[in-house]
């Protein structure tokens, strides 16, 4: 495990002005992983894009953790559908319409 690829939950929360309980609820909802085997709870920096998005939704749009979880699942569906539409469009291209 390379130390530089991790950030402590505490540091993250200080940077973003968000409560640690928010990050833990994201963990509880299985939106991200937290490594709590060490003295300090750590987040992989790979989780940051998702977590920062969730923090933005929480802070900018006043969405509570439960709402954020729902949004997360819907977003995944939207992105899956967007991919599917793109694939279908490519297939349709075969036929002269």
């Amino acid at each position: 495990m390379k130390q530089e690829n991790y950030i402590s939950v505490k540091t993250f929360c200080q940077h973003h002005g968000v409560k640690e309980s928010f990050v833990y609820s994201m963990y509880e909802f299985e939106l991200l992983q937290i490594d709590d085997s060490k003295e300090e709870a750590l987040l992989s920096t790979d989780e940051l894009p998702i977590l920062e998005k969730m923090v933005r939704l929480h802070k900018e749009l006043d969405i509570n953790p439960e709402g954020v979880q729902a949004v997360y699942h819907l977003l995944q569906q939207v992105e899956g559908l967007q991919e599917e539409v793109a694939a279908l469009k490519r297939k349709l291209d075969r036929f002269d319409l």
């Binding site: 993250f12 920096t45 940051l48 920062e52 933005r56 977003l75 992105e79 793109a86 490519r90």
Partner: protein, 302 residues
Amino acid sequence: MEFIDYYKVLGIDKSATADAIKKAYRKLARKYHPDLNPNDKEAELNFKKVNEANEVLSDPEKRKKYDQYGKDWQHADEFEKAKRANSQGRSRSSSGYTYSHAGGSEQDFSDFFESMFGGASSFGGRGQKVRFRGEDYHAKLQLSLMDVYTTQKQTLTVNGKNIRLTIPAGIEDEQTIKIKGHGGPGIQGGPAGDLYITFSITNNTAFKRDGADLYKTVQIPLTKAVLGGEILVETLTGKVKLKVAPGTNNGTKVKLKGKGFPKYKKEGEFGDLFLTYTVDIPKNLTEEQKSLFEALEKTNLA
């Protein structure tokens, strides 16, 4: 430069209270927030407009200035003169409602806004930008289908940095690849963002593509369809000779194995080329040909 009616953008009355403005802004921000509208350029643009409107109308001083000049925008000349006197040395083209796009959800402003209130620098972030990790960059790269028939090495310059890029053969149209760590720098020791490159692949060949398979319609003369024979067919890599079986029907499909497009990230593997035959029915017959067909008809040929 176009006048922007910020009240209209937020869908509120000119007499709206600060509270009503806030409410209207939050409602629209939820609708257009880029995190809720993935890959939606229109929503992104709307989000910027809404933010800009809020930036002006939620600030009593800016709102006052906007209300003052806003209603006289038709007399833009005087305003422009005053502006020139006020702020020298700002070199920025001012035409139309354009946004300088920096990618991501970074705030940026219309020319109208900048000419009235100066650049975005006059007021730092209002705690809107939530990031520690650097910004993700999004870029689009246009290639032709034949470009991606082979694996390409290309050097891109993104924000002054050269990035060597290997584009695997067979990449799909609108496929996005992520280049880790080549986005914006992190803030206070945070990790850098990523660079996303979306490929736009234009197909100006005679072939239709679906993944690694290629499709093409080939016309064959009526006589070859009936009697059989050989035809020459163009593939992506040159001409091939094909045997047409006697009695080939219109719409018959033929598969040429391995004559398709390279499979993405499977070196040396290719898809197939599917040909569909359409039988060319002759239209301008000579008298002789016509009588031959009539003779055929008399043989009760079905």
